[in-house]
């Protein structure tokens, strides 16, 4: 029924011993004075010993009560129920407003964020200036300030495209509030998006105020992937994936910059679609996809970067069965042509795909040739220990590697495209791609695997400098850009890069990766696909995922916060009691009452 804001201050109750000890311990030897009217004194003390004893007891009680009242006030004694004078003992209040992308969904004519923001204002309004308060948003940053300052920040609050992992945000807020030493109260205002509650977290003392209404219907684009980049002049294909609250097909419109609408189709949610598009002009292009507007607009549009370039010319020495067959396929598909732009198993004038020599004695000569070409990568000793390739973007599966050379890389400037046995196996230094094994079955199973032809296509593109767009990046998620990248240009402007440092995308849309003034890659920054699933967790699910949390609706948030704040603040009562004790003590200790 009672609680304390700062219970450790209860140690101050030991001060109660002071008046008791003063009362009990004999005082110093008093001065002596001759006084003839002794019988008057004796009569007086004989007549009122009980009254004096009572006064001394009252004096002791008032002093003890004074100490107790002050210590309890300092410890922030609270009463669970309401008190007539309102208020609560100082608490540490962390308010989490889930303004992640899903809060932009419109419900009953207004964004969900409006409901969350109003509830947050009420919660902060119920806080007192004595409280320590923080406001945490989807960016995960805890902002400290007075309730009024934080409420003012809510005025400019807008949905953020980042995803808020509710469990970890709650854990951080609890740690923050608990560290203050006061009663910690964490209020989470959220649309309770099911996908945001990704793990189970202890949430004692946490109030989860959720939007009780069911989520609005939504259809969103979660995949827009131009395939087989770069596209040739004959066009290319696009894979799309739509997620929706139901299975009803939705109209999808694809637009290429400079070409207008190039394709309209009906997309069926839950099943990937493969659409062919006509060829745009050569160079980097932006592909737009858009669905009909619904209550959640952020995932109704999506962009992708597309590289359009003619097939590179490759020079290789025919005679190797596996290699000949692979290039034949690529030529037939229009992915490459015979030419001098990329030299395979040789160091050419432009791009090169360099394999180790069959004769180990020629490795030194090859290394010297690489150095003279400005390539810092060197072939090391030949290794006959069988390993397998590690799973990666270029080689998803495991490929056996029987023989390879150790690759010696410079500290920076080299992109590792594939590894085997944890060591670099295929690397790129500028337009030179170096493979640590020869593409022969005696060296590796790659030539006889299904991954060989696509890998060869990619390697030729890398060597020719006509690689397609980088994989999509999710907003807010750090990613590593190519080693030569010096800046990124996106919808919000240009961002310089420290070499080797990860880049955190902060805006949705196509970004161009620059190396100096050259555009070396393009990529699309997208919404986290989980944000498109607006399905909300019910109270039971929330209680299961956040054990110990009090799950309420946004309308009940303030009442729950007041209750969790420990109810009524008894400090005014205690201070009044202390003042009363002080007056009583002064009255008792006055000349008529005596001071001992």
């Amino acid at each position: 029924m009672i609680g304390f804001a700062t219970p450790w201050l209860l140690a101050g109750l030991a001060l109660v011993a002071v008046p008791i000890v003063l009362h009990l311990v004999p005082r110093r030897d008093p001065p002596e004075r001759a006084f003839p009217a002794m019988q008057y004194l004796e009569d007086a003390t004989r007549r009122a010993p009980h009254r004096l004893h009572l006064r001394h007891l009252l004096l002791l009680a008032s002093r003890v009560l004074l100490v107790v009242a002050l210590v309890l006030a300092a410890a922030g004694l609270t009463w669970r129920g309401p008190v007539p004078w309102g208020g609560h003992a100082p608490i540490a209040l962390a308010v989490i407003v889930d303004n992640s992308a899903s809060s932009a969904a419109v419900q009953d004519g207004a964004p969900v964020l409006t409901v969350l923001r109003d509830a947050a204002r009420e919660v902060l309004g119920a806080a007192t200036p004595a409280d320590r308060t923080w406001l945490m948003l989807a960016d995960g940053v805890a902002r400290a300030g007075t309730p009024a300052m934080l409420a003012a920040q809510l005025d400019s609050l807008a949905p953020r495209p980042e995803r808020l992992a509710l469990g970890s945000a709650i854990a951080r807020a609890r740690d923050l509030a608990t560290a203050s030493g006061r009663r910690a109260v964490v209020v989470v205002l959220t649309d309770a998006q099911q996908s945001a509650i990704d793990d189970t977290r202890e949430a004692d003392g946490v109030i989860v105020a959720r939007v009780a209404a069911p989520a609005p219907r939504n259809a969103g684009i979660i995949t827009l992937a131009p395939l087989d980049q770069p596209w040739s002049s004959s066009g290319g294909r696009v894979a799309t994936d739509i997620v929706a609250s139901d299975t009803q097909a939705v109209p999808l419109q694809l637009t290429l910059a400079g070409r207008g609408v190039v394709r309209e189709a009906l997309a069926r949610p839950g099943s990937a679609a493969l659409l062919s598009l006509p060829a745009p002009v050569a160079g980097w292009q932006v592909l737009h996809a858009e669905l009909a507007a619904d209550e959640f607009r952020l995932d109704d549009r999506r962009e992708a970067a597309v590289r359009v370039a003619p097939p590179p010319g490759v020079a290789w020495t025919p005679g190797t069965r596996w290699l000949d067959a692979a290039f034949a396929v690529l030529v037939a598909e229009g992915r490459v042509r015979t030419g001098q732009e990329v030299a395979f198993d040789a160091i050419g004038r432009a791009g090169s795909i360099v394999l180790p020599p069959e004769d180990a004695a020629r490795v030194g000569a090859l290394n010297r040739a690489l150095l003279s070409r400005g390539v810092a990568v060197q072939f090391g000793p030949r290794l006959a220990t069988p390993v397998v390739t590690d799973s990666g973007a270029l080689l998803p599966g495991e490929i056996a590697v029987t023989m390879r050379h150790a690759l010696q890389l410079p500290p920076e400037g080299v992109e590792v495209l594939a590894t085997a046995g944890g060591q670099p196996w295929i690397v790129r230094d500028g337009t030179t791609v170096i493979v640590a094994s020869r593409v022969e079955p005696e060296w590796t199973a790659l030539p006889v695997s299904a991954a060989f032809v696509p890998l060869l296509d990619v390697l030729v593109r890398r060597a020719s400098g006509t690689a397609g767009a980088l994989p999509d990046a999710v907003i807010g998620t750090p990613m590593t850009l190519p080693p030569l990248a010096t800046a990124v240009v996106g919808p919000t402007g240009r961002v310089g890069l420290e070499r080797g440092a990860p880049w955190v995308p902060r805006a949705i849309g196509v970004h161009w990766v620059l190396a100096g003034t050259d555009t070396i890659a393009g990529l699309a920054v997208t919404l986290d696909p989980r944000e498109s699933d607006l399905a909300r967790a019910d109270a039971r699910t929330l209680a299961t995922r956040l054990p110990g949390a009090e799950v309420v609706t946004t309308a009940e948030a303030v009442a729950a916060m007041r209750s969790a704040a420990g109810g009524g603040d008894l400090r005014p009562l205690l201070l009044a009691l202390a003042a009363l004790c002080l007056l009583l003590e002064a009255w008792l200790a006055a000349p008529r009452g005596g001071v001992r």
Binding site: E32, P36, Q39, P591
Partner: protein, 282 residues
């Protein structure tokens, strides 16, 4: 004069000041009365020979006269140890105050040709000065009063009993004391005096420091007579003490009134003129 410590001068000033405010003659009732005959002895003044008796009896007798006053008064002064106390250095001790008051009363009475005597006592009777009306008697009284020093305990009853013996005829007894004594025993003696027809006046000498406890830190109070101690904080007991003192004063007043005795409380910060006025008020 020096022997009297200036008491006679002080007293004369007090009395003159007091009389200046009175409207009655201090010399009323003056007369000389024949006391008895005594056989003539060589050396007797011839003028005192009763010639008429000589003519009738043919024997020489001299007339013996007694100076008669209209009052015989006895001042009974308490000189116990408690009387030697004063609550503040700027005040007189109760004994000094009582001595001056007694001297003033004595001078006043003597000027009225009232025979005035003095009894001083502490735990026993220390001195008895028979009542005389002669003007020079004051010097003796003043000398005795000036020589008073605080004694030991207090035993008023024997002193008052001595007064009975000293005052054969009806007279006036002025009992000057701080009354820190056995009230029942003292009242019994006073009532006896009253029963013998004496007019009794009790002057209760009290230092203001006895009437009210001065505030201050906790103190061990010691009775100079008995040596008993009480330790207390004056501030705590001020009210109760004042109530007790009031009760004591009231009790003395009531008991005295019931016995036909006049009782006057005389704080030692009271001007002597005022004190005399209260004492002699009818």
């Amino acid at each position: 004069m020096a022997r009297l410590g200036g008491l006679d001068v002080t007293t004369a000033g007090i009395v003159e000041g007091f009389l200046a405010g009175q409207h009655r003659s201090p010399r009323r009732g003056f007369s000389v009365e024949f006391a008895e005959h005594r056989a003539y002895q060589p050396g007797d003044e011839p003028r005192y020979i009763d010639w008429k008796l000589l003519a009738r009896t043919d024997r020489l007798h001299v007339k013996q006269y007694e100076e008669e006053t209209n009052l015989r008064a006895m001042l009974v002064v308490d000189a116990s140890a408690s009387m030697g106390w004063r609550g503040a250095p700027e005040r007189l001790t109760k004994l000094d105050y009582a001595a001056r008051l007694a001297a003033a009363l004595g001078l006043l009475l003597l000027r009225q040709r009232d025979a005035t005597g003095l009894v001083t006592f502490d735990d026993t009777v220390r001195s008895i000065t028979p009542a005389r009306a002669a003007g020079r008697h004051f010097a003796l009284l003043a000398e005795r009063l000036a020589a008073l020093q605080p004694g030991k305990g207090t035993a008023a009853a024997p002193a008052l009993t001595q007064v009975v013996a000293a005052l054969r005829r009806r007279g006036m007894v002025v009992f000057i004391s701080d009354l820190l004594l056995d009230r029942a025993l003292t009242m019994k003696a006073l009532r006896f005096l009253r029963h013998r027809g004496h007019e009794v006046l009790v002057l209760h000498i009290a230092d203001p420091g006895e009437l009210e406890l001065a505030p201050g830190e906790e103190t061990r109070f010691r009775d100079p007579e008995s040596g008993r101690t009480v330790t207390l904080a004056p501030a705590e007991w001020a009210t109760e003490y004042r109530r007790t003192v009031d009760g004591v004063v009231r009790a003395w007043g009531t008991a005295c009134r019931a016995a036909g005795i006049r009782y006057v409380l005389v704080p030692t910060d009271l001007p002597f003129g005022t004190a005399l006025g209260r004492a002699l008020a009818s």
